[in-house]
């Protein structure tokens, strides 16, 4: 059975650079439509069921805004 | 057990004094007229299994000193006037970060590349900051090989105690001449002042230490500078040193430091033999300057003698507050005043 994962994104740490969106191989992430208190549009797991806990999003994130869990 | 008196070159005596003070790391670069000091440290620091590096420049050397001192080590560099110019940024950083370092300047004639003969043209540079920003640091001016050794030894303690650079401002004459010297006993490292602010060796529970002169918030920076200047005020009360002879009955007081003061001592003795009432006032700490004592002597006539176009003379004028006639006699470009030259000037002023 394939690995499944879960992401926790700290919306206030995220600066909306969207490098994680680019890095995700299964298109879990996209920019949120709601901004955070800084005015950034943080990354959001819009298709969380697709997450395979590969950690690519974590690897490229400059703000350590994402924590990755293995289910 | 006292040491015997040894005949030593000034540069080497300062080196030996630094080794005995427990200098952990010396970083230097060759420049005349202090190369014997660097060579002495090269041999003796390695003999003692301490750190010696001939750096790639004076700039690099002062930053190696700063880094070593930031860990709490006793660290020193030496150079001469143009090299000290290169070190001004590093000295400013050490003053801004409250890092104790020892810097020896064996001064030569300037400005620019200048010459290699002795001069006292770095007084402003040493006592007025030299580098950028609001700061002062300890400046010690020896007049002999003995005093150069003593003040170098003590510079490490003073730097540690007051958390700032201590500069020994010698000149090429003192660096090159050979005199008898009794060296101080090596300092017991256990008697060094503790440095809880240093980076490295972080014990469990100690918050992170940042050795840093950055202050980007103006309100906080102003307070930090004011606090530092309060420390300077304390130093002005306790650290001032000078030597005076025959000032009480003097019609004319010679004011001089370092080699100029040696010359003035001879000139004063010659003058006294001629019945002229001449005294000598010799600052030993150029910073903190003996402002208070000069204020007390205000009203007397002064002749400031320097190997420059006139730098300390401004402080003599300043601190006698307009109550004294202050004359100046200087030689520069590497010329050294003779006792006869100074006596002639004394006689010209006293019209005798």
């Amino acid at each position: 059975m394939a690995t499944k994962g879960k992401l926790e994104i700290d919306r206030e740490r995220c600066k909306g650079c969207l490098l994680c969106v680019r890095a995700c191989p299964v298109k879990v992430l996209a920019a949120d439509v709601e901004p955070n208190s800084w005015g950034y549009y943080p990354s959001k797991a819009v298709a969380p069921e697709k997450c395979i806990a590969c950690g690519n999003c974590f690897a490229v994130c400059p703000d350590v805004a994402i924590s990755v869990y293995k289910l | 057990m006292a040491d015997e008196k040894r005949l030593m070159k000034g540069n080497e005596a300062m080196g030996e004094a630094a080794v005995r003070a427990g200098c952990d790391a010396y970083f230097g670069y060759p420049i005349t007229p202090q190369n014997e000091l660097t060579a002495y440290m090269a041999k003796h620091m390695l003999d003692h299994k301490r750190v010696f590096i001939q750096a790639e420049s004076e700039v690099s050397a002062i930053n190696m000193v700063y880094g070593a001192a930031a860990t709490g080590a006793r660290s020193m560099t030496s150079s001469s006037s143009p090299g000290i110019s290169l070190k001004q940024e590093g000295i400013s950083y050490a003053c801004g970060a409250d890092v104790p370092i020892v810097v020896i300047n064996v001064a030569r004639s300037g400005p620019g590349l200048g010459g290699i003969s002795p001069a006292q043209g770095d007084y402003f540079q040493s006592t007025r900051g030299g580098g950028h920003g609001d700061y002062f640091h300890i400046v010690l001016a020896p007049k002999s090989v003995q005093e150069a050794a003593d003040l170098t030894f003590e510079a490490f303690d003073l730097a540690d105690e007051w958390r700032m650079p201590a500069m020994v401002l010698a000149d090429g004459m003192i660096g090159q001449m050979m005199e008898g010297v009794v060296l101080p006993q090596p300092k017991d490292p256990a008697t060094r002042v503790a440095k809880p602010w240093a980076s490295g060796n972080r014990p469990a529970g100690r918050p992170v230490n940042h050795v840093d002169s950055t202050h980007l918030v103006p309100e906080e920076f102003e307070q930090a500078n004011i606090a530092r200047y309060k420390r300077y005020d304390e130093m002005k009360k306790t650290l001032v040193r000078y030597e005076e002879q025959h000032v009480e009955d003097a019609d004319l007081i010679l004011a001089a430091y370092g080699t100029s003061a040696r010359v003035c001592l001879g000139a004063m003795q010659m003058a006294r033999k001629l019945g002229l009432k001449v005294g000598l006032f010799r600052p030993i700490t150029l910073w903190p300057f003996p402002e208070k004592r000069l204020g007390e002597l205000a009203g007397k006539r002064f002749l400031t003698v320097e190997m420059s176009m006139g730098q300390m003379v401004e402080d003599v004028r300043l601190h006698t507050r307009g109550k004294s006639e202050v004359s100046f006699y200087g030689r520069c470009g590497g010329m050294i005043p003779t006792e006869e030259d100074v006596l002639a000037e004394i006689r010209r002023i006293l019209k005798k």
Binding site: K15, P62 | V51, V59, G67, Y93, V208, H210
Partner: protein, 257 residues
């Protein structure tokens, strides 16, 4: 549910001043992950000079010494010689290392000083608003090269491949170039950093890891465009990989294979 990728202990959990997408954030994380793995948080010292790297001391949860621009390797020499059992990190940008501090960098490397240099190469001056750097590419625009870097007509010089230059110095032992443009390169870069830090702790040196880093703000791009520019323009010129590896540790591993 098991946490597999989380916040390093020796990195402070606070938002950084770095621009969105800036490589510094990733590099800080890689360094602190390795420090955590090596258990060296109490015995690490970072030297943070001038440029965006001045902020490093705010985010690393260990001791630091702030040094003048370009003098970082000299300061690090002083620190490491006094604390030989500590992990000493000389953290520099391209102006600090390859412009004002080239003498200090060359000579520390040549002396084989045992600290590790982390060289963040973003081909521009970031903090001061985008001036030309020694590693700016030919034709690349900067505020002081508004028509693009021109070595011929305007005498602006050529971009410097620092590691290749340093490889000629006998004092250097490990020189590697990584990037943080994508996950694969980021992971490789972490391995280079770990190898360099382990070498330092074994007493080997000098070691340097150059890391190509995106600077969206001063390249006038958005973060995704900026990593694409790293891929299209920087990596072809600044080759990734281990440029020099003469570590004893590596020789042992090779022999064991």
């Amino acid at each position: 549910m098991e946490l597999i990728y989380g916040h390093p202990k020796s990195l402070k959990p606070i938002q950084t001043k770095y621009c969105p997408g800036c490589g510094h954030g990733v590099i800080h994380r890689l360094i602190t992950e390795v420090i955590d793995e090596l258990g060296m948080q109490q015995k690490s010292v970072i030297l943070n000079p001038v440029g965006c790297s001045i902020w490093a001391s705010i985010y690393f949860d260990f001791d630091s010494v702030q040094v003048p621009h370009g003098r970082t390797p000299a300061g690090a020499t002083g620190v490491k010689r006094m604390l030989p059992d500590h992990l000493v990190i000389c953290y520099q940008g391209d102006g600090d290392l390859a412009a004002i501090g080239t003498a200090e960098a060359v000579h520390a490397a040549n002396r084989g000083e045992k600290f590790t240099t982390i060289f963040v190469n973003n081909a521009i001056y970031g903090m001061t608003g985008g001036q030309m750097a020694p590693t700016t590419l030919v034709g690349q625009k900067a505020t002081t090269a508004p028509y693009g870097r021109d070595p011929v007509e305007a005498g602006m010089g050529y971009p410097i491949r620092v590691l290749e230059m340093f490889a000629t110095l006998e004092g250097t032992r490990y020189l590697a170039r990584g990037a943080v443009n994508n996950a694969a390169n980021t992971r490789k870069t972490k391995q280079y950093i770990k190898k360099a830090f382990e070498a330092q702790l074994r007493g080997e040196g000098s070691t340097m890891v150059e890391i190509l880093s995106q600077c969206p703000t001063n390249w006038a791009m958005d973060p995704v465009e900026s990593v694409e520019w790293v891929e299209s323009d920087m990596i072809p010129f600044y080759k990734l990989g281990e440029i020099k590896d003469e570590l004893q540790g590596s020789a042992v591993k090779e022999a064991a294979k």
